[in-house]
């Protein structure tokens, strides 16, 4: 039964229909077959009884006449009835008289039945009848009839019933299929929807209605129920969500409070009403140098020692004060916390009672913080502020709209406006005429994070005076790194600018005067040249005519007159030498028109010595000339150079005969020439002066123009060289010089020339 209950409705319907209709049909069939069997039996009994009586009646004569053949013929007529198995006629004594057997010529007659009548056996029917003649029994007829006909009928009816059953089953199947559509499908949809709802909790699902029958009503009711559930569910959800949110909020608030307390930057200690520590956060433990397990339960006084920074006096624990006064206590400044290990930490602290609304305090909470960094920052900031205050530069802060936020005394002094006047005013208050658009441009660049350095411009003071300033403008950032303003440092460079202008002017003046000087120098040289040239003319006249005078009037002049004329001639001679040297000197300053030639210095020396022949002979000078190189220069320059140096060596001799050496050492541009003597030498203080034109160390006792060494220096410098003197006063001098501009690489290996007075005399 359980299996049936669990079957799907469709199958249940099929089964119910099938069983009901099958049973009805089967019972009807059985009844019909049973009834027919009974009726047929009765009919058969009557039919056979009739047949037996007829046959028995018809056999009376045969038996009476003892004619078995006639009897057999009568019996043979039974052949028409196919179901008759056999028929036998017995005599009264029971012996077979005649017989018939279906399909057989010789019938085997069974012994006759004991009593007349019809008897049914399982397979056949046996009918016995007494053959009576005139009231007397003459024999017995026994007939056996098979029941095959009955079986045939039964089979016929059974088959009929079966066919009806099969047809009914088919009809039931189709009918139940239709029923499935109208009953099972809506039901299974309902079931599916219900299952889906319970699984997915989607109360939005609705079932489609197929018909307005009870199932339709059921679907409506189901859908209605779902709607109800859905709205209930929504409400529930809302309620649940809000409750969850509330719960979460409460949880996170508690978490955050706990986290806040633990991780807050300030030190937090809470105590119970007796001042025993119930909680200390990490910062507090760190500052106090205590560990969590050690500190819990201790009295605050044991771990929290504070003194006044200046007086070093113990400061009352805030807890005691809080408990006494029942109010929030802010601590005095300049409090020093002395930690467990003796470290002193400047702190700010405050205490507060812990209590619920309207209840007495349950304890205290103490909050304090290490202000070392802030102290340092304060100091730094004070220091920076004092720098800003004392700076001679104007230091100005402004916001991005150009509104001035700070204005230091440097700015006050520089621009003439006080801080009170300027703070809150726009920076363009100090813009100079024509520079108004400069500040917005600077601010635009500042907004972009750019820094403006050493921007030279002008600004207007309160008194209207325009000053030159060098600006450095930098962006000011807030804590988030956003540009919020600009710091501007202005330096008054009016003096510098003026100084620079003065300098430029001075430079220009200098250049001008340098040019003037150069020009006047050139003029002077030209003048010296022309003068020395032209002065020679009248001098020549004086000389020649003086001589002419002496020659013509030699006899008429007295001795004094001759001395006078001699002095005139001597004077003109000296003047002529002077003019000649001056001319030579000025000519050295002029540009040479001809290119320098390759000159063998040995040849130059020979010419010089030839020129000095008389002086050499007079002084008995011994002159040795070393190996001298060839140079790229003008002979007209080299001759006076060597001639003056050797001439001087002869002229400024000591008591001994002069010994003079001319030599060259080194190579290339470094080649150094030397003219050394054993003369009177030169005191150190004069060693530079002697090269200045007209500077002479000696009076008229040693004749000279004072230009010789100046000419030498000019020649040497013309070839990029240097000339100097080394001397042992009283004993010797060596004039040294270089001629880098004249040195040519050509090798020169001319042998030295040695000239002796004796040779000259020969």
């Amino acid at each position: 039964m359980r299996a049936f209950r669990d079957l799907p409705i469709k199958q249940k319907l099929v089964a119910t229909f099938t069983v009901t209709i099958g049973t009805a049909l089967l019972l009807s069939g059985i009844s019909i077959v049973g009834l027919d069997s009974i009726l047929f039996r009765g009919y058969l009994q009557r039919d056979i009884s009739t047949l037996v009586r007829i046959v028995a009646d018809n056999s009376t004569a045969a038996i009476s006449f003892d004619d078995p053949n006639a009897a057999s013929e009568t019996l043979a007529a039974l052949r028409a009835r196919t179901h008759i198995v056999s028929a036998c006629i017995y005599r009264v004594d029971g012996t077979p008289f005649a017989g018939y057997a279906r399909g057989s010529a010789s019938p085997a007659c069974p012994p006759p039945a004991a009593a007349d009548g019809v008897r049914f056996t399982r397979h056949d029917l046996t009918a016995s009848r007494a053959i009576v003649l005139t009231g007397r029994r003459v024999g017995t007829l026994v007939l056996v009839y098979d029941l095959g006909e009955m079986a045939e009928r039964r089979n016929l009816y059974g088959g009929l019933v079966l066919a009806i059953l099969v047809a009914s089953a088919i009809i039931v199947f189709f009918v139940s299929s239709r029923l499935r559509a109208s009953i099972a499908t809506p039901v299974s949809q309902l079931a599916g929807a219900a299952l889906s709802v319970s699984r997915t909790r989607d109360y939005g699902i609705r079932v489609r209605k197929f018909a307005s029958d009870e199932l339709g009503l059921l679907v409506d009711a189901f859908n209605e129920m779902l709607s109800g559930i859905q709205s209930r569910d929504d409400e529930l959800k809302t309620v649940l969500l809000s409750r969850e949110a509330a719960l979460r909020g409460a949880q996170s608030a508690r978490d955050s409070l706990e986290t806040t307390l633990a991780s807050i930057g300030d030190a937090v200690i809470s105590t119970d009403i007796d001042g025993r520590i119930s909680f200390a956060n990490r910062v507090a433990l760190g500052l106090l140098r205590w560990s969590e397990p050690d500190i819990r339960g201790r009295r605050l006084d044991e771990v929290f020692h504070i003194v006044n920074e200046y007086t070093r006096e113990k400061v009352e624990s805030p807890v005691a004060k809080v408990l006494r006064e029942g109010a929030v206590v802010g601590m005095a400044n300049h409090t020093i916390l002395i930690a467990r290990d003796g470290t002193e930490i400047p702190i700010d602290d405050s205490g507060a009672p812990i209590r619920r609304e309207g209840e007495p305090a349950q304890g205290t909470v103490l909050v304090f913080r290490d202000v070392t960094a802030r102290r340092r920052a304060d100091e730094t900031s004070r220091m920076l502020a004092s720098i800003v205050q004392s700076s001679a530069d104007a230091i100005i802060a402004k916001d991005l709209n150009g509104i001035i936020k700070s204005w230091n005394p440097g700015a006050e002094h520089m621009f003439g406006y006080s801080a009170a006047e300027m703070i809150g005013r726009p920076i363009w208050t100090i813009a100079a005429p024509g520079h108004e658009d400069e500040m917005p441009r600077i601010l635009a660049r500042i907004r972009g994070g750019e820094k403006i350095e050493s921007f030279h411009t002008v600004r207007r003071r309160k008194d209207g005076r325009i000053i030159n300033v060098a600006l450095t403008v930098s962006p000011l950032y807030d804590a988030l790194g956003r540009v919020v303003g600009a710091s501007k440092i202005a330096r008054d460079i009016t003096d510098q600018v003026e100084a620079a202008e003065r300098l430029a002017k001075l430079n220009a003046d200098l250049r001008q005067s340098n040019e003037d000087l150069k020009r006047s120098n050139e003029d002077l040289e030209r003048f010296a040249f022309v003068a020395s040239h032209d002065l020679q003319e009248p001098l020549r006249m004086i000389t020649v005519y003086s001589e002419l005078l002496v020659k013509t009037y030699a006899g008429t002049l007295d001795s004094q007159g001759e001395v006078f004329v001699d002095n005139i001639i001597g004077g003109t001679q000296r003047m002529r030498n002077l003019l000649a040297d001056l001319l030579a000197y000025t000519e050295l300053g002029a540009r040479s028109e001809q290119p320098a030639g390759n000159v063998d210095l040995n040849a130059i020396l020979r010419m010089v010595l030839e020129n000095l022949k008389v002086a050499i002979a007079d002084s008995h000078a011994e002159i040795s000339v070393g190996d001298l190189p060839a140079v790229e220069a003008h002979s007209a320059h080299l001759i006076p150079l060597f001639q003056n140096l050797i001439g001087n060596a002869i002229k400024y001799r000591g008591s001994k005969a002069p010994v003079i050496g001319v030599s060259a050492s080194g190579s290339g541009a470094d080649t150094r020439f030397a003219v050394e003597d054993n003369g009177i030498g030169i005191e150190p203080e004069y060693r530079e002066k002697i090269f200045v034109a007209f500077k002479r160390l000696h009076g008229k006792t040693i004749p000279g123009t004072g230009i010789g060494l100046a000419i030498c220096q000019r020649v040497v410098e013309r070839y990029g060289g240097k000339i100097w003197v080394e001397s042992a006063p009283g004993r010797a001098s060596t004039f040294l010089f270089t001629l880098p501009g004249a040195i040519c690489p050509a090798a020169n290996a001319a042998g030295g020339t040695r000239i002796r007075p004796e040779q000259e005399q020969e």
Binding site: M541, V544, Y545, L548
Partner: protein, 143 residues
Amino acid sequence: MTAANGKAHVLVVEDNPADVELLRYALGGAGVDCELTVIDNGGDALAFFEQRGVYANSTPPDLAILDLNLPRYDGIEILEAMRASRKFADVAVAVLSSSSSPRERARIEAFHIARYITKPPNLDEYMRIGFVVKEMLGEKLAS
């Protein structure tokens, strides 16, 4: 050309009378007997060689002694005018100059100067100029 009196004709262009005097003295000292025409400025010298004004009938001298440093016109211009004229182109010239600079010598090289004499700084040398002139005039003096 020899002067009408048969003496050699020497033209002296010199602005300094003292030099002219010394020249005369030197010529005398050397025994040079000649006709001396003295012109003391460049303008007249140009007029002489271009035969203008009072010098319209000037004739070529046997020797021209020329100071290059003259007022108004300098020696170069005079030499140019002289060499440009057909009549005076071949006149022998001795330049008498106070300058002995090679530069000045180079400037007048093109004018076929016979002698270049630096004005001497003493009497002895001055006297030698007389003999130089004597030598230059040569056979013109003998005639």
